[in-house]
Subunit: 150 residues, 2 copies
DNA sequence: TATTGTTATACTCTATAACTATA
DNA sequence: TATAGTTATAGAGTATAACAATA
């Protein structure tokens, strides 16, 4: 199946290592986005939380943590500062008081809106360079990977 | 071009956001690998450095930093502990004394070899679930993305 | 002057465990 | 007993700037 060369460790090239390839691709893709976020003063993680909160509507924290790829203790801290900034609101779930439901505020939405054009322009430029078909294929495959792994 | 809905922020679904999709995919893919690395006691970052050092042969630190997706100050610290552990060696470049060349040691190779089978088995299982064609397509697309972005 | 790598620093995230309160 | 989230803590990475040595 795999060819075992004279080299002691029989690994694929790192370009064909899925975790490494995903990381490198993400670093590349994030570069222009980081420049944009630097201007907003908001961190990558907070940006993800905002995106997820806007998309998911009022949801419990665990859902946000999972979808924004953050651990709950990290999210607790992040939410503390984001609610203080007025970007999000938290309130206890009426049916299960253990849960706290997070909702994006108008100010949070406004922050997203302010940068929507620039963010979409960055995406569009990447799509143009990479190719629209390739971009769609890549996103499809990433989505399918998630589904098979669940 | 893009449709502006009633919703204030006109963003794609986060599933179709390339940075978020890449991050989620990576988190999923890393799960079994993290379990493996936990047993070795080596961190994700060190594992990447080892993989890159083995693949690239003796190279200067900047190359390792770029290929392992680490900043130079982080790499400096990581290399300090990895050379102390005897996994890597560093020596000044003969032609350009500013550069320091990093080389993997037999002990470093041995560490990789010890886990090659398990790592490859994890990869194979993922490939079986996801589909061999899909996996190849995904890796091809990620590689092409890197090239167009350079 | 520019480049390679180191050091210093402040901030943030990660990972884990122990804890509170609800269920 | 189990679950949702918080707190505490240790370790590590990020990001930036200032620096030393070399080119």
């Amino acid at each position: 199946m795999r060819e075992t060369n004279v080299a002691p460790a029989a690994f694929r090239d790192t370009d064909r290592s899925l975790p490494i390839a995903l990381l490198r691709a993400r670093e590349t893709v994030m570069q222009p986005i980081r420049e944009m976020l630097a201007k907003t003063g908001i961190s990558e993680q907070k940006w993800r939380v905002l995106r997820v909160a806007e998309e998911a509507g009022p949801v419990e924290q665990s859902v946000i943590a999972a979808r924004a790829c953050l651990l709950l203790p990290s999210l607790t801290r992040i939410l503390r500062s984001m609610t203080a900034e007025g970007l999000l609101e938290k309130h206890a779930d009426a049916f299960d008081k253990r849960k706290s439901i997070v909702t994006i505020t108008p100010k949070g939405r406004a922050l997203l809106s302010e940068h929507a054009d620039e963010a979409n322009a960055i995406y569009q430029q990447m799509r143009d360079r990479f190719g629209a078909d390739e971009m769609d294929q890549l996103l499809d495959l990433l989505e399918r990977l998630q589904k098979t792994s669940t």
